[in-house]
Structure formats: C-alpha cells, structure tokens
C-alpha cells in the first residue's frame, strides 16, 4: 500500500466519521462518541495482542484507573480537568508499567491469567477503598470543560483525539521498535539470539499500550461523567478485547470496526430482547469460525488473495 493510498483511506474515514453528527444527530452521535472511545481502547489492546503476541485481560482496569483518577481529581479534589487528564494518563501508564513488570516474562495462557488477576486486583481496590473510590457507588460529576458540553462538540473532540491517537499507534507499530515487538511475537528465542532484550521491549510495548488505554479512559471520563467498579471489571476488559478480536487482531484499525459492530449490535438487539448477550455470543462464535482474523483481517485477506493478514 503506498503512502498516498493510506493517506486517502485515512482521510476518507475521517470525513465519513465527521459527517456522523450532521447525518445522525441525537442519540446515534452519542453512540458514535462511545464507539470512538472504545475503538481507542481496542486499538491499544491490539498493540499487545496483535503485534507483540501477548493477549492481555487487564486493559479495562488500566482504562478505568485513568477514568477514576480524572473523576476523583476534578470532582473530589476540585482540580482542573486538563491536569486531571494528564494525571489520569500518568496513572494508567504507571499501572501498566507495574503490570508489565509482573507479566512480561510469561506468555500465552499464563500471560492471559496473570493480567486477568492483576486487573481483578484493581477492581477489588476500587470496590473496597470506599473513602477514595466511593465503593460500588463510584464517583460521579461532570468533569469535561464547559466548552465540550454540547454532544456534537464532544464528538468532534473525541474524533480528533482518536484520530491523532490512531495515527500515533499506527506510527508506533510500524516503527523499528514496533517491528521488534512483531519479531517477539514470531519467535522470542530468535529475537533473543539477535541480541534484543525481549522483556524490556515487551515492558515498553506494554507501557505504550497502557498510555493509549489511559487516553481512552480520560475521554470516557469526559463522556460518561461517572465511574464505578464495573468500568474496571473483568467484563470491561473482555469486551474491549473482543472488540479488537472481532475487528481483527493485528490490524490495529480493526479496533474501530470491532467497537462499531459490538456497540451497534448491543444497542440494536437490546431494543428487542433482554437476551442480547446471546446475540453477542453468537457473533463471537461465527467470527471465530468464519473470520478468525476478524472482520478487517478477513477483508484484507480477501483483497490480497493470500492467507496471511498484513500487519
């Protein structure tokens, strides 16, 4: 794919997304805002799952830590929202670093389980540390700056932020450093033999992934005005991971596709039945059978005519 084509795709996507509030004002715009936020989270997961070959189950927690910090700093400590945002991202990155220290030497199902356990620790802390986190009632309060009050403005702000972060993540995974992560995914021993410090690279990859998850967490705080332990819970981590998987692991932008599909489906199906979880379950089963590399991965395969998705 040439540089010009890539730029054109990016521009076309941006223009289309920018048209959403004009074409579908009201509730769909709110949904689209949510989609963009979760797309960022799913993409941050893809850095680890798709490029470094380590599937994490703790990103809901990292994301939620940032949301908690922003809401706490702005509503309880009466701080400035932007300082709160910076602190939120810092806290998320720090959490990711601690998680990374404990998890990078494992791989496969062990990595999955270690990160799952670490995520549950955060959930437990948020649930029990009532004086700070408000326990199961969580923290509420409008934290976004006044000029972001309008749903449409908030959407464009989120779009700009998500666009910038997606570009940054794209640049990151295609950088020489990002390629070493892909190298680790393909063969850890060979990378070691080539003289790369594998744990260090994974640690840095994890931290960067946590940084972007934290950015998504800040946006979520602005959007939701509320955080409770269910935001840092396992279900959140799983849902975000499934968004990355449905969209296509290792495609990065699959995160956007996956988030859009899942959020749209949740809303469409739940309007008709309270058993909408079943529809989601079926979707995952069919994705795994017919498009194990995700929607975007499948499309790319079909276009490229070979069996392997591009990374």
């Amino acid at each position: 794919m040439t540089r010009a084509t890539r730029l054109r795709i990016a521009l076309a996507t941006l223009v289309l997304l920018a048209a959403v509030p004009l074409a579908f004002p009201g509730y769909p715009t709110t949904l689209a805002t949510e989609t963009l936020i979760f797309a960022t989270l799913a993409m941050s997961i893809d850095i680890l799952a798709g490029f470094a070959g380590r599937t994490p189950l703790c990103h809901g927690a990292i994301f939620g830590v940032s949301t908690y910090v922003v809401l706490y700093y702005v509503t309880v400590a009466n701080g400035d929202p932007w300082v709160g945002a910076a602190l939120g991202v810092a806290a998320a990155t720090l959490t990711a670093m601690v998680f990374a220290l404990l998890a990078v030497r494992t791989s496969g199902v062990y990595f999955l389980l270690v990160t799952l356990a670490l995520g549950m620790v955060v959930w437990g802390v948020c649930l029990r540390w009532t004086s700070v986190t408000g326990g199961e009632n969580g923290i509420r309060g409008t934290v976004r700056p006044a000029w972001l009050g309008d749903a449409r403005v908030l959407y464009y702000f989120t779009l700009a932020a998500t666009g910038a972060m997606a570009a940054a993540m794209w640049r990151f995974v295609r950088s020489p450093f990002g390629l070493t992560l892909a190298g680790i995914r393909e063969s850890e021993t060979r990378m070691r033999a080539l003289g790369y410090d594998v744990p260090l690279h994974l640690f840095l990859g994890f931290a960067v992934s946590g940084f972007f998850a934290g950015m998504a967490g800040v946006l979520y705080a602005f959007f939701n005005s509320f955080v409770s332990p269910s935001t840092v819970g396992l279900a959140q981590s799983v849902e975000a991971l499934l968004m990355a998987i449905v969209g296509g692991i290792g495609t990065l932008f699959g995160g956007l596709v996956g988030a859009a599909i899942i959020i749209a489906l949740e809303n469409l199906v739940s309007a008709y039945t309270e058993r909408w979880m079943m529809a989601l379950g079926l979707l995952f089963v069919f994705t795994m059978i017919f498009a194990p590399s995700g929607v975007l991965g499948r499309v790319r395969q079909a276009l490229a005519g070979n069996g392997k998705p591009r990374t």
């Binding site: 795709i9 996507t13 579908f24 509730y27 689209a32 004086s131 969580g138 009050g149 739940s270 975007l296």
Partner: protein
C-alpha cells in the same frame, strides 16, 4: 488498492449507520406521555427488577393507560444491574425515545449514574427504589425526586426509638452487608439508638454474597446484646434468617432488621424461620387499611404472590405520577411546572395506607410502621403493624442544615454517640 479504500470506507459508513434510526423530536402536546422505566431485568438483582415492572404496570393496567386525556406510554429498558448499562439505556430513552421522564433503577450505583446524567439535561427522574441518602440530602438534584421511595437511614430511626423506649432494649449489635446501603441503614439505627443512651456493643460487616454466617453468629452470641439489628438484602437475607434459625438463635435472642430483611421478596420463600422479626417501614402488607388490602389482593391475583418493596413502591410511584400529571392537565413538557406539581402531591389512598407528602428536599415524609412478621391464616407470612410513628422525615428530629453538616454514613462514620 482503490477497491480496498472503498470497502474500508463503506465499512466505516455501515458501522456508523447501524445505530438505531433517529426519531425527530416530535413533542406536540396531546400526543402520548412517554415514560422510560429502567429496571434490572438481567444480572444480580433481576428478580427485584421484574417485580418493579410488575408493580408499575399493574397501576396502569388497572387505571387505563390514560391520564388527563393523554395516553401513557411506558418503555421498559433493562439496566442489567450495571451502572454503565443503566447510563446507556437512560441516554437512549431520553435522546432517542424522547421520553418525558425517567423512573426506576434498583441498585444505588445505577441510580446515581442516571441521576448524574439527568443533572445535565433536566429530564425529571423518579427513584422509588434507590435509597442512597445523599440523592435527597447533600448532593440533591432538583429534577431527581424520590416519589414513594425512602432514604436508607430514614426507616431504622423510629425502630431504634421504639426499641429503646418501648421494649427497654439497651445493648445492640448490628450485622450488615458491607456496602453503602448497609452503612447508611446501620448508621441511622445506631446513631438514634446511641443518642438515646443505648450502647452499640458490636458492628459486623460482611461481604455481599456471604454463604456462611457462622463466624458472625458466634461473635454475636459472645457480645450478648439485647437485640440484633440485621441489614441484609437478596439471597444474603434468606441465608441469614435460615442460619439464624439453624443456629438455634431464633427464640433465644430477638432479631430486628432493615425493611429489606423481612420484605416479601425474602420471606415469601421462607417459612416459620422469619416469624417474629421486627422492622420499620412505610408499608405493611398486613396493614388492614382498605387501600392496602385492596392492593395486596389485586397484586396477589395478578402475579400469584404478595407484593414486595419493589412492587408496592413502583405501584405507588405510578400513582404519584398520575396525580401530578392530572394536576398539570397533562402538560408534562413544562418541566418546572410538572416537577412543582410532583412536589405538591399529597398521596392519599395509596397502598402505603397513610398520607404521604414530600419535604423540601424531594424525599417523602412518612408515617412509619413498626412491623412484625406474622403468619396469615392461609399459612403465608407477612408484616403486620405494631405501632405507627407519624411524620418521619429523612432528617428525623434534627435540623436539616445541621444534619447535613455531618459526613455521610460509612463504615468508619456511624454517628455513634458516647
């Protein structure tokens, strides 16, 4: 390559467009009044959520879906017992369904999330079930009103007063689920009790979903209180009452509790174990007021069970809304006027059995019953009134401004004096 561009772009459009269709805001007077009902139909408190819907629907089914010449349209959404889902559903009801008002939610965290959302847009939100103290105290929101609901710390106060003054109880222990709702109920109880001069000799907090109460029951026996105050909801409540009886404590030590402990949602699944437990509440299914008995009979006929807290609160809430809608002649679009009408309603002839009005903070002032669980002639157990405390406000005998200076109840602050 261009084909790839196209597909990707098309995918993005399709994704963006899959959101449900937008209904333009047609709010012409004379159309139906749209009420969004949020209830947990799935998740940990789903059984309570179903009863909420039953209670709310029963009223409209009985009275025809029409008030002041306008049709009443109720849209039910499942909040999944999860605050984020509740928030999402509230957004959908308001932004897409264009509802005129929201009502419902069961768990405090779901209610708090929705309250924060309506704070920003002024949509009236009614909470007959959400008991979080601060929603009508320190952090009240003008358009969030607790019609036919209660503040957690409101009901245990008259119980504490009655036990101290009428029963000569001097030493209590509390046992409670370790979360805000429990902290608030126990706080109300022990603060009132200790201010009268009673002693709190122990407070035990256990996690939600405790399977085995034996460690707590053993400690309670050692503390030798005059009575035990238990604050339990859901399956914990059932287990607590069963294990209390299995331990042989029933009959040896008096047991009282929050209104949830002896709510029909719990005792209808129990037998003689629940007999004799004391509690305080604004409703007694065994109260012989005609309106109460008619409601209980209707509810039993419609759903083959005695009404629980969820059923009667939502039924009374519907009644309250109908009265307010009637008062503004159906013009619910004028929100300040409608909310004013809601605040002015004095509900008589409701299942609650006694007249109810709101205080200045959007919280009902009730005549509170001291209740005891007794056996009905047909073998079912229900709560019957022993005594009535008139005009119990959420602030008890305190001045509201003074009261709200003390911190909210928590595990570390229970307001115990001495």
């Amino acid at each position: 390559m261009d084909r790839r561009n196209f597909i990707k772009a098309a995918g993005a459009v399709a994704a963006a467009a899959t959101g449900p269709g937008y209904i333009p805001g047609a709010t012409a007077q004379g159309g139906p009044i749209r009420i969004g009902l949020l209830a947990p139909l799935t998740g940990v408190v789903a059984s309570g959520g179903k009863e909420m819907v039953e209670g709310f629907n029963l009223y409209w089914n009985q009275h025809g879906h029409k008030v002041a010449g306008r049709e009443i349209q109720v849209t039910v959404e499942d909040d999944a017992s999860n605050p984020n889902t509740a928030l999402e559903k509230a957004r959908r009801l308001v932004e897409q369904g264009n509802v005129h008002m929201l009502i419902g939610d069961l768990l405090a965290n779901t209610g708090l999330a929705v309250a924060e959302y309506v704070k920003g847009n002024g949509v009236p939100y009614f909470i007959p079930i959400i008991a979080a103290d601060d929603l009508t105290q320190r952090k009240r929101i003008p358009n969030v009103v607790r019609i036919a609901g209660y503040a957690a710390s409101q009901m245990p106060r008259p119980l504490a007063d009655w036990l101290y003054k009428k029963k000569g109880i001097r030493k209590v222990v509390t046992v409670s689920q370790d979360y805000t709702f429990g902290h608030e109920q126990c706080g109300g109880f022990v603060q009132t009790f200790s201010e009268l001069g009673g002693k709190v000799v122990g407070q035990y907090w256990h996690p939600l979903n405790t399977q085995d109460f034996s460690p707590y029951l053993a400690q309670i026996q050692d503390a030798k209180p005059d009575i035990v105050y238990a604050m339990e909801t859901g399956a914990d409540g059932t287990r607590f009452i069963q294990q209390w009886a299995n331990f042989g404590m029933k009959g040896k030590m008096p047991l009282c509790g929050s209104m949830n402990l002896t709510d029909q949602s719990i005792i209808r699944n129990l037998g003689a174990e629940s007999e004799g437990i004391l509690s305080a509440a604004h409703f007694c299914e065994g109260n012989d007021a005609p309106a109460t008995q008619k409601f209980v009979a209707d509810y039993e006929k419609a759903y083959q069970k005695l009404p629980s807290l969820y059923g009667f609160s939502m039924y009374s809430g519907a009644m309250w809304l109908a009265a307010a809608i009637e008062a503004v002649k159906g013009s619910v679009e004028d929100r300040p006027k409608f909310l004013e009408a809601v605040r002015k309603v004095v509900l008589t002839d409701s299942p609650l059995g006694r007249p109810v009005r709101l205080d200045d903070y959007g919280e009902p002032v009730y005549d509170v019953f001291i209740r005891e669980v007794k056996k009905r002639p047909d073998g079912k157990y229900w709560n019957v009134p022993l005594e009535v405390y008139p005009n119990v406000s959420q602030f008890w005998h305190y001045k509201p401004e003074e009261y709200m200076k003390q911190p909210p109840y928590s595990r570390s602050f229970q307001g115990i004096k001495g």
